[in-house]
């Protein structure tokens, strides 16, 4: 019997997702420090070096790290496929992304062209190793559910934006910019936000919300068509941008409409959920839905103001929507992984997931994060208050890191003791 590719019995080693998760908040702290040290005025434009460096500390350093880490874990569960040599792939990808992101940030900040060129190489290797490995794994999918299709779509967008990103960054490194630079930068950012992150979030939400909160299921139309319609919108936006720029707002409204609808659906589904629990993850889902709604409108309206408010739009969607969901996910997935891997190794007396996260600290972290987001938006109009919110953001991210390090320390402590049961008799294949 050939079950190759079907991995009912394959969980990736805990280190694969954790190395990404534990790094992510540290990059957010770095982003916070850079905001604190930057001249607030230069951050109100999207093309200053400061703005590009800080944006990528967040989008690569935090968001992509969390997404890639989560994908290593979700691929076997949601799609039933394994990434070949997942441990090695994760290590290589993490190494190159870690240094690539650092090189990029400091290369841009200090205008050091060799560092920028290395960054584009490192980031290219880091991202493509992971993306290509996952796409290869996904070829073995037997049952391509809407979530799986969304994952594949998202990874294809990721592949394209990485290639564009490499080109853009090496242009900064060499100082030679093509005529298409601004256009490519636009495609890179819009497809990254809506194509890579947005589609992935929507695809995963189809599963997560009904399952983990016993919320009503998404409608068939939603599951089967929305990802396709959004992708169509993103391609239409590209074509209009290239040839009929003045009409590109049509495609923007199209894409924004679906994300707004998604955000509203999430909010309503959470209201109708059957599970009474209201934990930090639920709050993050809710805040994500609210910020996405505001962001969708702001993005569409921004066009009529000559893109003057694009930074506000980025904070609403990148920070309020994507960042919120990623943070919320960390609070669930890290304690669960710790519990799951210890249990699989035969440890029975493990703290429960709720014991691993200090609820009060989690709440404080959430509140500081929301205050920072709102503060960043206000700072766009009143730049001199920005440092206050850079500090609240740094504090929030230090607490986030602390909150997810605690379960990992619990893991490290317990794993040193002798298990309650010898599990070698089971055929469990959790790779070391």
């Amino acid at each position: 019997m050939d079950f190759d590719g079907l991995s009912v019995d394959q969980a990736p080693p805990i280190s694969a997702p954790l190395r990404f998760f534990l790094t992510a908040p540290l990059f957010a702290v770095l982003a916070g420090i850079l905001i604190l040290l930057s001249d607030a005025q230069t951050l109100s434009g999207r093309y200053s070096m400061d703005a590009i460096a800080i944006t990528h500390a967040i989008t690569i350093g935090f968001l992509s790290f969390v997404m890639l880490g989560a994908l290593t874990q979700m691929l076997p569960v949601l799609a039933g496929v394994k990434i070949a040599k997942v441990d090695m792939v994760a290590k290589i990808s993490h190494f190159f992304l870690l240094f690539g992101t650092l090189f990029m940030i400091f290369g841009l900040e200090y205008d050091f062209s060799k560092l920028i060129l290395s960054a584009s190489l490192f980031l290219g290797i880091g991202f493509l190793t992971m993306i290509v490995s996952m796409l290869i794994g996904l070829r073995n999918v037997v049952n391509a559910t809407p979530s799986v299709k969304a994952m594949i779509t998202s990874l294809v967008f990721a592949f394209i934006i990485v290639l564009i990103g490499i080109h853009l960054l090496s242009s900064h490194g060499s100082g030679k910019f093509s005529e298409l630079h601004v256009l490519l930068a636009n495609i890179h950012s819009v497809w990254a936000i809506f194509g890579f992150a947005g589609v992935l979030i929507i695809g995963v939400a189809f599963h997560i919300l009904p399952m983990f909160y016993v919320a009503p299921r998404f409608k068939k139309f939603c599951k089967q068509k929305v990802v396709w319609l959004i992708s169509f919108g993103l391609f239409l936006w590209l074509i209009l941008n290239l040839f009929f720029d003045s009409y590109s707002v049509v495609a923007k409204v199209w894409v924004a409409l679906f994300f707004w609808a998604f955000a509203t659906t999430v909010y309503l589904k959470l209201n109708a959920r059957r599970r009474p629990i209201s934990d930090i993850t639920v709050w993050y889902w809710r805040s994500a839905a609210i910020f996405m709604t505001l962001g969708a409108f702001a993005w569409a309206i921004n066009d009529f103001y000559d893109e003057k408010y694009i930074v506000v739009v980025s904070i609403l969607i990148g920070g309020g929507f994507i960042f919120s969901i990623m943070s919320g996910m960390l609070y669930k997935i890290v304690p669960f992984l710790v519990w799951f891997h210890l249990n699989a190794k035969g440890y029975m007396s493990i703290p429960t997931m709720n014991d691993m996260i200090d609820k009060k600290l989690a709440k404080t972290q959430f509140l500081l994060f929301i205050i920072s987001l709102v503060g960043f938006i206000i700072s766009f109009f009143l730049p001199y208050i920005l440092p206050i919110f850079a500090i609240t953001f740094i504090a929030s991210m230090i607490i986030l890191e602390y909150n997810i390090v605690i379960p990992v320390l619990i893991y490290a402590k317990i794993i040193k003791t002798k298990p309650d049961f010898d599990m070698s008799m089971f055929t469990m294949k959790v790779e070391k």
């Binding site: 019997m1 079907l6 009912v8 039933g80 059957r274 709720n354 469990m428």
Partner: protein, 146 residues
Amino acid sequence: MSTIKEYLTADHGRCDELFANMEDAVAKSIESAKEAYEEFAKATERHFQMEERVMFFEFEQKTGNTQGPTAMMRHEHVQMRNLIAEMGKAIEAKDKDKFFGNSETLMILMQQHNMKEEQMLYTMAQQHLSAESERIVDMMQSLIVQ
């Protein structure tokens, strides 16, 4: 007559509903949640046994593979049984924190498990056992829990 996949998938949904009822009951008052807990625990145990004693068994016979996916699913059933037992103890001890700590873990484990079954194992079972689908569903329906 539903297929093996449809029948067991629908049963997952039923267990989820009972899980939500139980949590709801505990949130309102842990003193009077015992009935809801037992209803959930009973339905889940029945589901496990329908799989272990009927469907997995038939699947293993047909494919000659007892160390493959079904072994992993059986192992996860053991993990879930332990958590359900812990939740029962928490209700006896009227310890809400302990109950929700375990129920949260169970929920994620259970959903991971269900996804793997619904995406892969049931689909594989349906392919290998399609000729006997009706008989197997019938046996699962008439199963007496041990």
